[in-house]
């Protein structure tokens, strides 16, 4: 089954955080304000597409690697 994650977002596209796949990473993401139910939007990316810049809940901009973004499941 295809599970959509933040790494699948296109520039400007939004998603709502559903859950996390990596327990260690999830804690760090939670502390940075990526909470289930929170809306995120892909604002841009570094050259070569990694890391990406994610707008978190309209509050601030978080830069994270594609591999980190792939642990955030969205809907």
């Amino acid at each position: 089954m295809f599970v959509k994650t933040v790494s699948h977002l296109k520039r400007g596209e939004k998603g709502v955080i559903k859950s996390f796949t990596d327990p260690v990473m999830s804690l760090k993401l939670l502390e940075m304000g990526c909470v289930p139910g929170c809306t995120v939007r892909l604002d841009g990316a570094a050259p070569f597409g990694d890391p990406v810049c994610l707008n978190v809940g309209g509050q601030y901009c978080l830069s994270l690697r594609i591999s980190e973004a792939a642990t955030i499941e969205i809907e």
């Binding site: 304000g33 050259p47 707008n55 830069s63």
Partner: protein, 710 residues
């Protein structure tokens, strides 16, 4: 342990304005030092709290490192809980001032509720409301205070507005705080009653949440001894406690309660965007072409600054030191004491302060880039490349700083939040060509590279110099990659970086950061360089038995017709040859012969082992150069005349020159760096590994260069 003065700790998320508020509160009454037992810089300062109709109180404020939660992600952040969980700590606060970014309330309040649940008296300073207003957010401070049950004060850390009210609130809490509030924002007791009770009983803790901190992060607490840690591990095992599950549940649980609260307190109107300027600049600085192009431009500017601009104050210092030494030699009666003072101590101090301009300029520029928000973009565009070598985008700052001096550069690695990547960065940073290598490069290049033009515009000598810096960088990246193959990674690498909006730098901070790096260089590196130059002076001034004196007599007898200047120089050179240092040079000659070096270079290698900048001065003494011995031109001319007794050809040919250059690019010839790596990695293991691998790299590359070219 704890003195009686009242203490305030400033706590908050990174970028929440904590340090700015600290500066506004303490002004010029602040000092810097170290937290006891750890190597994290501590900023503290006095301030006076007063309110109408009451006596004023003098208190001590401590600025703690910025953190997103009570669970630390880096060596810096670990300090926060090491203090807040330990009432016996000398910096344990009477009240915690939590600085909160009002434009990002939800995430900032996570840390606040954790601090509050520890049972600490708190005051909440609501900062960045101007930013929130620009984002069409309105924060109701009164409602926030009522919901959280703490004093909330609106402040603007940059302009200083709200500071008097904040001081009043702090004083009020200090005087009226009632300990042991049983109401937790997030209740851990219900889920782990037996575990918490056992830890509370065992360690005589009153607070449930503090007990949970013992359970979750006792390995970070310097005040919990090893046997206690083992015992705690036993308790955790007995109760089958799943730390990851608890941490996730706690964080999610806090957010679940915070979200409706923030929704009540914050009124939002319309969509929120990064400021216009930030979006525009990011389109340039994160662009595949524009990003790297502007980074290269910034780097060129930095290099220009530390090599061209810094040369003026450095020349002044150089001249000043030489004049002072000459003056002291004139004034003091000739003798051992005078020699020790001038050639040992003062020459050593001169060797330290000569680097201050470069370090000050470089770290001022790094601070400006960090303050403005640009450094975060550099980390982002460099992360993918750095990752290929086992490093992190955050490694860029120490690597750039290494061009001035590895000592403060290694200290900047503390912000790298993965221990593994921090270690790798520490291990390879000294391969970046620091400013102490420059005089060596200059003299050797002048010696073996012709000053011809390449393609009509580039000076060949300049190109070779650039190539040496490039070689250092390539060496650093390649070594990181090789080390990462041998040293297993214990924790996953992660990047996650808050992208601040672009701001004008706060000049006070830039000045402080510049002062700090100069201070750490003078104290860390300076002590060692001065001490070593005294030791070297002794080794070069004394020899076994009366060998030195007899050699001197021989030379004086054979040179009866020469000018006094030449006799003096010849005597100095002969004395050095027969000193302990000279004996050592002869002793290691077999080992360095494959690199093309003789015993004279051996002396210079020994002398520069502790601090490479000593190389040129020692060469000058060995080759008995009279007059201004530090002058590159004089040394160069003398070296060109040196003949290899075996071949009858010039000693310093391309092969020997290149071999020496290769050696100095890679060799760990710096005692101060070893000392700072020992301090930062807390042990001798890594500095020794670093010393061995860098020396091996230097020896092998010098060997290959010499054998290929000779």
């Amino acid at each position: 342990m704890k003195d009686k003065s009242i203490k305030i700790a400033l706590v908050g998320n990174p970028n929440a304005g904590k340090s700015t508020l600290f500066n506004s509160l303490t002004g010029l009454r602040q000092k810097t030092g170290n937290f006891p037992g750890v190597t994290v810089d501590k900023k503290f300062g006095k301030l006076t709290l007063e309110k109408a109709g009451a006596a004023s109180v003098e208190v001590m404020a401590v600025d703690l490192p910025g953190t997103y939660s009570v669970y630390p992600k880096s060596a810096d952040e670990a300090v926060v809980m090491d203090i807040l969980a330990n009432p016996a700590h000398p910096d344990y606060p009477d009240v915690v001032l939590v600085v909160v970014d009002g434009s990002n309330l939800l995430r900032n309040l996570l840390l606040f509720t954790q601090i509050q649940d520890l049972g600490l008296p708190t005051v909440l300073a609501l900062n960045m409301l101007d930013v929130a207003q620009n984002m069409n957010l309105k924060v109701n401070a009164v409602q926030l205070a009522m919901n959280l049950g703490v004093p909330v004060v609106n402040i603007n850390a940059r302009t200083g507005s709200g500071i008097p009210q904040l001081k009043e609130a702090l004083l009020h809490v200090i005087e009226h705080f009632e300990p042991a509030s049983p109401r937790f924002f997030y209740d851990t007791t219900a889920d782990y009653p037996d575990l918490i009770n056992e830890v509370k009983r065992e360690y005589k803790i009153d607070n449930d949440y503090l007990a949970m901190q013992y359970v979750c992060q006792h390995d970070n607490f310097t005040f919990v001894e090893i046997p206690e840690r083992v015992k705690l591990d036993g308790i955790i095992e007995k109760h089958q406690f799943d730390k990851q599950a608890f941490l996730s549940a706690e964080t999610i649980g806090r957010y679940e309660k915070l979200r409706p609260l923030v929704a009540k307190v914050v009124k939002s109107e319309g969509e929120i965007e990064q400021p216009y300027w930030t979006r525009l600049l990011d389109r340039i600085f994160l662009h595949p072409v524009g990003g790297y192009f502007s980074f290269a431009a910034v780097l060129i500017l930095v290099f220009q600054a530390i090599f061209a601009w810094a040369s003026y104050p450095m020349d002044l210092i150089d001249e000043g030191t030489a004049n002072t030494i000459a003056w002291v030699k004139n004034v003091l009666p000739e003798g051992v004491l005078s020699d020790l003072l001038t050639d040992g101590i003062m020459a050593g101090i001169g060797g330290v302060i000569i680097f201050i301009p470069q370090i000050a300029i470089l770290f001022a520029l790094v601070a400006i880039l960090e303050e403005s928000g640009y450094m975060a973009r550099v980390m982002i565009i460099m992360d993918k490349l750095m990752r290929k070598f086992g490093l992190n985008g955050r490694s860029v700052v120490p690597l750039i700083s290494g061009v001035a001096c590895a000592v403060p550069a290694i200290m900047t690695t503390r912000s790298i939040n993965s221990r593994y990547e921090r270690l790798l960065t520490i291990l390879v940073t000294p391969l970046m060509s620091c400013s102490a290598r420059l005089p060596i490069y200059a003299i050797l290049i002048a010696l073996v590279v012709p000053a011809t033009k390449v393609l009509g515009i580039f000076n060949l000598q300049g190109l070779v110099l650039f190539g040496l810096y490039l070689l250092g960088l390539i060496g650093a990246l390649a070594s990181a990659w090789v080390i990462s193959l041998f040293v297993p990674r214990k924790e996953p690498s992660y990047f996650m970086l808050e992208m601040p909006s672009y701001k004008l730098p706060r000049w006070g901070h830039v000045g402080m950061s510049m002062y700090e790096s100069v201070r750490s260089f003078v104290l860390e590196a300076g002590k060692i360089i001065v001490a070593i130059s005294i030791v070297l002076w002794v080794l070069a001034s004394y020899g076994p038995g009366d060998r030195m004196d007899r050699a001197e007599e021989r030379v004086t007898a054979s040179m009866t017709n020469a000018a006094p200047d030449q006799v003096d120089a010849a005597v100095a050179s002969t004395r050095l040859e027969n000193s302990y240092a000279g004996s050592f040079g002869h002793f290691i000659e077999p080992a360095i012969r494959p690199l093309g070096y003789d015993w004279k270079i051996g002396i210079a290698l020994l002398a520069s082992f502790a601090a490479r900048e000593v190389f040129v001065g020692t060469m000058a003494t060995i080759y008995s150069i009279s007059g201004d011995s530090e002058d590159v031109l004089t040394v160069k001319q003398r070296l060109q005349q040196e003949i290899n007794p075996e071949t009858g050809q010039p000693m310093y040919n391309t092969a020997v020159g290149t071999s020496l250059l290769m050696f100095y690019v890679f060799a760990m010839m710096c005692m101060s760096t070893i000392a700072v790596v020992y301090r930062e990695t807390r042990g001798w293991k890594w500095p020794m590994i670093q010393l061995v691998y860098m020396m091996a790299l230097a020896y092998v590359s010098a060997f290959i260069a010499y054998q290929l070219l000779s």
